[in-house]
Symmetry: C2
Subunit: 228 residues, 2 copies
């Protein structure tokens, strides 16, 4: 996976973040990044962290951005996806950050089915992509694990629905809820697929959005992307 595919590894992200004029707006103020600063940044950042940078540049062109529930995201022309922490800077319209983590609901049987069928994000033929940030409401987070699992799978068939669309649709889930800085969403899901599977992707979203699980979603934005 190289930058020509629209994805960057952690070292490639170094020059990329510098190129987009990345400045640090951490908790305590701003410091202009140096290349040395970026090197030490990469070493201290959790390797499972990804930043989705909306702005005027980036290898993904935004073809549409729709609020499904709640507030929309500010409009941007391009998106960059990097495996490092990118704080908001004047040259970027927005940054969403999320972290890949252990799965919270799948059983071993479901996980084995997923492993048999799923494809990784970043296949060269997957020229279409979608970033779907969602936030679940306080009622969801107050449920216990068994209650959330029952809604997620036994009543909403989240894994079963997803399985039907594998391997055509690749998916990577990023968690934002437990980052130290307040984030506007709980999850960022990134999908990619080729042109022939765009209708199937829409069908999958329609199925998921009709479930009981989706009644707990209080913000969802659907951002569609094409390889620039």
């Amino acid at each position: 996976v190289t930058s020509t595919d629209g994805y960057l590894n952690r070292r490639e992200a170094l020059s990329s973040a510098l190129a987009i004029g990345c400045t640090a707006s951490g908790l305590f103020g701003s410091t202009v990044l140096s290349a040395t600063g970026m090197e030490s940044m990469i070493d201290s950042v959790n390797p499972r962290l990804f930043s989705f940078v909306g702005g005027a540049t980036g290898p993904w062109r935004v073809t549409s951005s729709k609020a499904i529930v709640g507030e929309p995201m500010p409009e941007v022309s391009n998106l960059q996806i990097v495996n490092v922490d990118v704080p908001i800077a004047s040259s970027n319209q927005w940054v969403l950050r999320g972290i890949t983590s252990n799965e919270r609901y799948a059983t071993r049987e479901e996980k084995n089915l997923l492993l048999q069928k799923q494809a990784p994000i970043g296949r060269p033929a997957a020229s279409l992509s979608a970033l779907i940030p969602i936030r679940k409401n306080a009622k969801w987070w107050a449920l216990t694990q068994d209650e959330r699992r029952a809604i997620f799978e036994e009543r909403s068939h989240h894994v079963s629905i997803g399985l039907k669309y594998l391997p055509a649709i690749a998916r990577r889930l990023h968690h934002c809820r437990d980052l130290a800085e307040t984030e506007p969403f709980d999850f960022l899901t990134l999908f990619d697929y080729d042109n022939s599977n765009e209708a199937a992707f829409d069908d999958m979203l329609a199925e998921l959005r009709a479930t009981e699980e989706w009644k707990f979603i209080d913000r969802e934005v659907d951002i569609r992307l094409v390889k620039a």
Copy 2:
């Protein structure tokens, strides 16, 4: 809960963090904190984040610090617990950070039992405290939710053991695994209790450490504290 109890709320933490000479060593370098910087810091930090600051000052005096599994923590005389983000500074020996979150394993039945019996951290009579940072190994995190639950409760009785010691032992769990910056532990558990319950607390730890769940722990430090 006030600072005289050894706990600080978010606004009290402002002056406290300034008093301990807190400087920002974020991802990109260091900036000396201003009061204004602290105000904006508090607004951007997830309200569920806590920092445990080991150093020469703080309302908790460290009476012992023992590595149970893996590397010990550097020795410090005191600990401060604040509900904000405190980056490491020269005046502090170390900072551990963690975030309270939704529960990952308890069923509704177990949760109801816990809610009936549990006490909050910070009771005035609870003059003894323990901070127990742990890290679980890669094998644990590769398990599926049902496999982790089976080890956690059906085979290790984590909740059942804990319930026996309520309300004498109060507990607050902080997650570190999914923070954006790499942290040395996955969980920080804070306990408090009065003098008469110290032996019971040791019994509880002995029970937990003998379980199958604890075979997945590859680092554990047991830090005992007394109100200074």
